[in-house]
Symmetry: C2
């Protein structure tokens, strides 16, 4: 059965995923001569760089996500459908979803990537990842529940399992989570949990390589390490987590660590949809695209963002899987479709690296611009304002700004809430209904 979308005489572009890339593309095509169908499993766009602040009870989820329908109010050529794409039928130019079939003239895959547990199903079932605002909320609940539980435990070792935390992965997310947790331990714990000794709380950050923030400058990586050490984070380089068993976390080299919470920020893997040609799938489930973001071996299918793998001289391993690449590809592709429809020639995509950054906490951040690296208070201000500026919606900007000022001045926030999801009790279906 076909999904209910108005037929039109204009070519239909189906965009799968409303992340940085997909949203930018849909925005470019708004009010164009194309019919745009934007499909996402959520009815909102998520601002991934601030997930960790939701998990650390610093921001509300609603402040960093934005409803897609509100974003496209008054845009009559963009149709939103909240569902998942389960398969691509290349030969029929259509995709399958639980809501029905959707035909396309052009298909753009902007599904991004999800957490990579490198095939270890046991770790996957026990570690906590942070690739959605729902997971971030789950982590917030877990951290607070474990502090509550720890209060009632008199045995030292047993209690350690609840209050100590292991963070796996020394990229921006791992570094930001470790810094935020260390600040929570320093400023919040003694006030909220005077019955717990905050000195008993250990925060471990595990990085497989020999430096943090891979891809950033040595200067920034070293400074981030120093910042974390200043905050008493136990940074372990050149080691990996191999297993989790009960409240024990086992390592390749080091001693096991007692902790019931392992936050996994160690890698991502492309979210591919069944139906693409085998030859188009590259390492890490990324999808090979040519210089026009076209999926190799297909005619009218494109891929952008974290999912896409574009081989260029400057980036022999593909582009970094960051928001900037996704947004630039989205913008590029919007332009591509518009020029193509006028039979104009299009130049290949070229990534313009604007730099990268990470924050470790109050007054502490590292910023690498293409020609200039700086760290500390000014870098932190730059980090704050660039993130604030990129948030969608005036209301979100105002609320986040207010929250940040509030937290900065009071060293405290009032979001440490364990809001457990309500799950309705299902009654046994009665025989009368089965008829």
């Amino acid at each position: 059965m076909k999904i209910n979308i108005p037929e039109s005489n204009h070519p239909r572009v189906v965009i799968v995923g409303g992340g940085f890339g997909g949203l930018m593309l849909a925005r470019q095509l708004a009010k164009s001569d194309l019919q745009v169908v934007l499909i996402d499993r959520n009815n909102f766009h998520q601002f991934q760089p601030l997930f960790y602040q939701v998990a650390m009870a610093g921001l509300e989820p609603s402040s960093i996500v934005f409803p897609l329908r509100k974003y496209f109010q008054k845009i009559s050529n963009v149709f939103i459908r909240v569902t998942e794409v389960t398969a691509i039928e290349i030969e029929n130019n259509r995709i399958q979803t639980p809501l029905g079939i959707v035909n396309y003239d052009y298909l753009v895959l902007a599904t991004g990537a999800h957490t990579n547990f490198f095939g270890n199903a046991k770790i996957a079932s026990k570690a906590i990842s942070m690739k959605s605002v729902s997971e971030a909320l789950y982590l917030r609940n877990r951290i607070l529940e474990d502090y509550e539980k720890a209060l009632t435990i008199t045995d030292f070792d047993d209690r350690q399992g609840y209050i100590d935390i292991v963070i796996v992965g020394g990229g921006p997310t791992g570094v930001e989570v470790a810094g935020a947790l260390a600040e929570m331990r320093q400023y919040i714990l003694p006030k909220d949990y005077p019955e717990l000794d905050s000195h008993e709380v250990d925060i471990h950050l595990i990085q497989s390589g020999d430096q943090l923030l891979k891809g950033m400058s040595k200067q920034s990586a070293d400074k981030a390490l120093k910042f974390l050490k200043d905050l008493n984070v136990n940074v372990i380089l050149n080691d990996r987590v191999t297993d989790i068993e009960g409240d024990m976390v086992f390592m390749s080299h080091g001693e096991p660590i007692r902790s019931r919470k392992v936050i996994w920020a160690a890698g991502i893997i492309g979210s591919i949809i069944p139906g693409l040609p085998e030859s188009a799938i590259a390492r890490g489930n990324r999808v090979r695209i040519n210089e026009y973001c076209q999926v190799e071996g297909t005619g009218n299918i494109f891929a952008i963002g974290d999912l896409a793998f574009q081989l260029t001289e400057s980036y022999p391993d593909g582009h970094p899987q960051v928001a900037q690449v996704a947004m630039q590809m989205g913008k590029y592709l919007g332009n591509y479709f518009k020029l193509k429809s006028k039979d104009k020639t299009v130049k290949p995509f070229k990534y313009n690296d604007l730099g990268s950054m990470a924050t470790v906490g109050r007054n502490r951040a590292v910023v690498d611009l293409p020609k200039f690296h700086f760290q500390g208070f000014f870098a932190w201000l730059v980090w704050l304002f660039i993130h604030l500026f990129q948030l969608i919606g005036v209301r979100n900007k105002v609320i986040v700004f207010f929250n940040w000022i509030w937290s900065y001045l009071t060293y405290d926030q009032s979001l440490r809430l364990i809001i457990r999801p309500f799950v309705p009790e299902k009654m046994e279906e009665e025989p009368s209904e089965a008829k």
Copy 2:
């Protein structure tokens, strides 16, 4: 096993429930000579009068709840435990919780009330109640999910089931929900869902009696009815919902209504804890208390708020189950304990009725003061400011105020988010772990 709470030489007051009554009492006893143990199943206080705005995507949950630990930071005689009380052992002066046993010198029951489905288990399993912020969030998701689903349905009758809503109960909650839904239909739906015809959306409010807002003045009840009719809410008086079957809602008298969403705001029943003497349980599972809020048939157990049933000349059916009564009882009991400890005499509790109110929407509210009733714009302003003033926390006041102004000016909000809870996948336990 005893729960881990520091022993002290001071008498211990255990308060069960951190709602309006329990919180007020704990606040009165802060820094007193008593040891206070405050037990709640949540780590936060909930501001129940605004649940409906969370459900209608007008406010974030965090704006109307406040973490108990933050509230009692720096108060060294108040100990918070997040758990449920499963039984009272009167003869041993202790209570049971999943975390262990808690001894008390005085026990105060402030557990409030939960939704009353009047014994109809089928309706209980299918209707949606709104007695916690989690349920309010669930309702928000349900409303939005059903609009999304309705988009994809071409059959008129089938679609009605997803977009029409039945609200049962014409008290303040029912009236407020109906008004807010009608405004969502009027201002939001045409913008967010141009593919749906908002005129197809029906909102039914069912009230078993012959007037809305029972307990308020006739003048206010009539005006509320008029306000709702102005907003095109179908108010049905003198009827009841008897059954829900698939997408059909059956009534005592009227025709069945097609709707998959029945919001139940038709009554409450006291949240009693096993172990109290039979004779102390009154109608609606309320607990009989004497003029000092002491549970009948016990020596050192008290009950306050929605749970309590105090027979007085002015209130032969007990006090109304509203926040004001709970707060005044909490304050009274704080004073009672302080005076008792100094062997002073205590006067019986006397409720001071400050009035009641309800809002129907923008510029529309009804207010009954003891000697003066008024309705309309000014009543609406009074409603807003009294609710704002009663919220806990400066941050919450600022955020709610900002949200209200924003909504008022833009007729829109950006909280229409279907944030599904993350539920971790449980792996099959491996044999090696079972050993």
